[in-house]
Symmetry: C2
Subunit: 200 residues, 2 copies
């Protein structure tokens, strides 16, 4: 019997996935969570064999959850199930010790199979994605990422500077750096590109 914990922020999808897994005779969904924090509490409480988690969730993301599972040495495998075919996400996921990465575009039958394979000690990564992942490294450093994130929300250089306790000029320098590294023409394109690649 494979004991599964589900983390997914959209209640309807969570319920549906739960129904899907309950159809499998060898699976047991022991609990499900609407965000990373709750998932972590439930992991400590139930010690499931496998955690199936989305990435983009309020509070603690799926990637951060995976990292925490590894750091705190919880004895469970983590499988990511997400909409986003972003190379950067896959890379960070693997670095966080994730053993499975599926897309919501994949057929539903594949989920149970993947969980079984993972439970036996295997790895499951969407093959299409695996190639892209190592093709292109994230050229941004931490500061550039932060600055770009905020600028992408529409904050001006001054506002970003205030939030990060930097000077206005420095923020513009980072932005300029990021724009250059990404080979685009302005902050908006830089934000869109970085986001699409999963570099956030």
């Amino acid at each position: 019997m494979i004991r599964v914990l589900l983390a997914e922020d959209q209640a309807m999808v969570r319920g549906a996935l739960s129904a899907l897994l309950r159809l499998e005779p060898d699976m047991d969904v022991v609990a499900s969570a609407a965000d990373g924090q709750e998932a972590w509490r439930l992991i400590e409480q139930h010690a499931p064999d496998v955690v199936v988690t989305d990435i983009e969730m309020p509070g603690l993301t799926g990637l951060e959850l995976a990292q925490r599972v590894r750091e705190r040495g919880a004895a469970c495998k983590v499988v990511i199930v997400t909409t986003f075919a972003r190379p950067g996400y896959l890379r960070r996921a693997l670095e966080a010790g994730v053993v499975g990465y599926l897309l919501k575009d994949a057929p539903a039958e594949q989920l149970a199979d993947a969980l079984r394979k993972v439970h036996r000690g295997g790895r499951v990564v969407d093959p299409q994605l695996a190639v892209d992942a190592w093709s292109e490294a994230d050229p941004l450093n931490d500061r550039e990422r932060q600055v770009l994130r905020l600028a992408g929300e529409g904050l001006s250089a001054g506002e970003v500077a205030a939030q990060l306790h930097l000077s206005q000029g420095t923020v513009r320098n980072y932005l300029s750096e990021a724009i250059g590294k990404l080979g685009v023409g302005n902050r908006i394109e830089a934000y869109r590109l970085a986001r699409q690649k999963g570099w956030l």
Copy 2:
């Protein structure tokens, strides 16, 4: 027995929802489609009682599908199930004759209940959303919408002007108008807000 057709582009979610509905003794998922076109073919073929559809799908969107169902006089109810709590979407959905609008954030149990109510001739609209929908009309005119869309992609005023065969100054004026109407500080915020409201 309620005969249901499912339209949803993400295969895993589609399969999971199907599993969820099959658990109900009075429901029968007669077919499922990955996009609007396919859904329409299957509707003609199976004549289901209820169509459950996402909005954002490749090719034909859920809203366009609903419209077609109404125009061609197919005898089935349409229920939208989507991620997007955008007032503009709800409004367009209702105008297209949709009888149900649920969010994927809503609990999974609610889906089957909603389908039963709709099948009995009722309407189901997420209450939270219903208020917003008529509260706030889209303040943008066509030009402002076009300009904002392009500017949001990262195009400069000049580039937008070239695409729309306008002058640079005019584009800046429209942008300025839009920014003013939306009560924000720059084009980036304006784009985000308009998009979030479903005004695109």
